[in-house]
Amino acid sequence: MDAILFLIFAGIAVICGLNLVLQKHPISSALSLVGVMGSLAVLYLLLGGEFISMAQLIVYAGAIMVLFIFVIMLLNAGTERPSRRRLWAQYAGVPLLAAMLAIAFYIIQRALPPSPGVHFGAFQHGNPFDIGIKLFENYVLPFEVTSLLILIAIIGAIVLARKEIN
């Protein structure tokens, strides 16, 4: 059952990811990204990361992507025009991309230690309670530093976006 669900949602994630690149219209691309985020949330859930899964759904699929779509709708962005490509770029693009992916895959596999493989449902500490304990006991300093960084970023955005007052 877990394996079937994994295959279905991994497939959706890959198709949506491809669609994101292939679609011409920004709204279609943004919605494909929502599909990727949503299926990732289901994959996290299958692996036992309950809190992460819901956070993914609320924060990424829910809030951030709605903002993306809101901005695209507000600017009324039109269909993307294909740029005039060189002939060699059209034909060499796909093989070069495949070669790069293969090299990246090989390097990552060499660099990582051999893993025992993933078992669905083996991870038991993904509930909000355990994550809260970990965040506020073991990792409280990185957590607070990250929130400070986000605060700085917010203030920076406000400073950049406000009107100039003469």
Binding site: M54, A63, V66, F70, M73
Partner: protein, 395 residues
């Protein structure tokens, strides 16, 4: 019993009850608003217009489904589906009552008890925005686009105070599963004040309850925050270009969202199916008394009919009411119906509040709506969350 068959039966029952509730909620809304405005409301189809929802469904199903030119076809068809899907699926984590125990058979009155139920509801409410925003954009109509834009901005803004209002009672109850939330609200202080979060110490959650209600009105696009479908400015807002069943899907999604939000408010703040006062003071006899009183009232009016057909319909209704009242005292059905009664009556009160507000309040202006969210509700929600956290930590 087999888990799959049991789940299918439960899902079928919940779906049937939910659909009926949605249809009749609209009838109740029309009736209540009619009486607020000194009209009588629907009364042509069936006694007191009781078959009006059925007639509406048939009308919507058989109407011509217009497809405007220049719409983006994929998203135009996708949008109502998204809206209704995320609105209906939320009911799957809502518990309606305690467990059912008949002999060796045992099940919970809930489709599934997630240990992250509250987060699940929040996530779904965030996804529901896409239906409205896409409908507005795909319709290729300036009014629909404005409606979709307004709705997405409004839902993003009000999601924040809503999430914070939900977080405060969670600090006190210490769980995210709806069933455990209600169990944690059982019991009474001083023997008669229920342990619901709006009454419970260390910090009664009345402020969060009000914040949640206001934010919920905005999240479900209801009056006074129904800017996305403001008739006098935007024709019908985001669903201007939709007809027939696609329009009905948006309608259904709106009412399903109302039901979900009322259920969540009941579970988080009003103690779910916990009765208003302890059983030793006779709270178990409240539903019987209410239904038998209603039945006797019907019988009395059936004796002195104001209209000719009341002579037949009212005594029948009265007998049904008295039978339902008696069922609450029956040995096996009674303990099942009792929590359902308390849950449904609390959720019903909130649903009535929705209709009442629609009948009385005018619509906000858009800048007022945004200023209210960011300069009033958000700071109050933060302060409330901070105070609750402080008091919970101190006690």
């Amino acid at each position: 019993m087999n888990f799959l068959i049991l789940s299918l039966i439960k899902a079928a029952i919940v779906a049937f009850v939910l659909m009926t509730t949605l249809a009749y909620l609209q009838w109740i809304e029309r009736k209540v608003i009619a009486h607020i405005q000194l009209r009588v409301g629907p009364r042509r189809v069936g006694p007191h217009g009781l078959l009006q929802p059925l007639a509406d469904v048939i009308k919507l199903l058989t109407k011509e489904d217009l497809l405007p030119s220049h719409v983006n076809k994929v998203f135009y068809f996708l949008a109502p589906f998204i809206a209704v899907f995320f609105a209906l699926i939320a009911i799957s984590v809502i518990p309606f009552g305690t467990e059912i125990n008949i002999g060796s058979f045992h099940t919970e009155m809930q489709l599934t008890d997630l240990n992250i139920g509250v987060l699940f509801i929040l996530g779904l409410s965030g996804m529901g925005v896409y239906g409205v925003a896409l409908a507005g954009w795909a319709s290729n109509n300036k009014y629909a686009l404005l409606g979709g834009l307004r709705s997405s901005a409004q839902m993003i803004s009000y999601e924040l105070p809503m999430a914070m209002a939900i977080a405060a009672p969670l600090l006190m109850l210490n769980t995210l599963s709806f069933r455990q939330l209600v169990d944690a609200q059982g019991g009474y202080s001083f023997g008669f004040i229920p342990h619901w979060t709006i009454f419970q110490g260390p910090f009664p959650q009345i402020i969060s309850f009000l914040l949640f209600l206001v934010a919920a009105f905005a999240e479900t696009n209801r009056v006074p925050f129904d800017l996305p479908e403001a008739e006098n400015e935007l024709v019908a807002g985001f669903h201007t270009e939709y007809s027939s069943m696609k329009f009905a899907s948006f309608f259904m999604a709106e009412y399903a969202n109302m039901v979900t939000v009322s259920c969540v408010a009941t579970l988080l703040f009003l103690g779910g199916w916990q009765p208003l006062w302890p059983a030793q003071y006779g709270s178990n006899f409240v539903p019987t008394a209410v239904f038998i009183a209603g039945g006797l009232l019907c019988l009395y009016h059936g004796m002195n009919p104001a209209r000719p057909f009341d002579r037949i319909t009212l005594p029948i209704a009265g007998i049904v009411f008295i039978a339902v009242g008696a069922a609450f005292l029956a040995p096996i059905i009674g303990p099942i119906l009792l929590p359902l009664f308390w849950f449904a009556s609390k959720a019903g009160v909130i649903l009535f509040l929705y209709i009442w507000v629609r009948g009385t309040l005018p619509r906000f202006r858009y800048d007022q709506l945004m200023r209210f969210a960011w300069t009033f509700m958000f700071p109050v929600a933060v302060a409330n969350l901070f105070l609750t956290g402080l008091l919970v930590a101190l006690t």
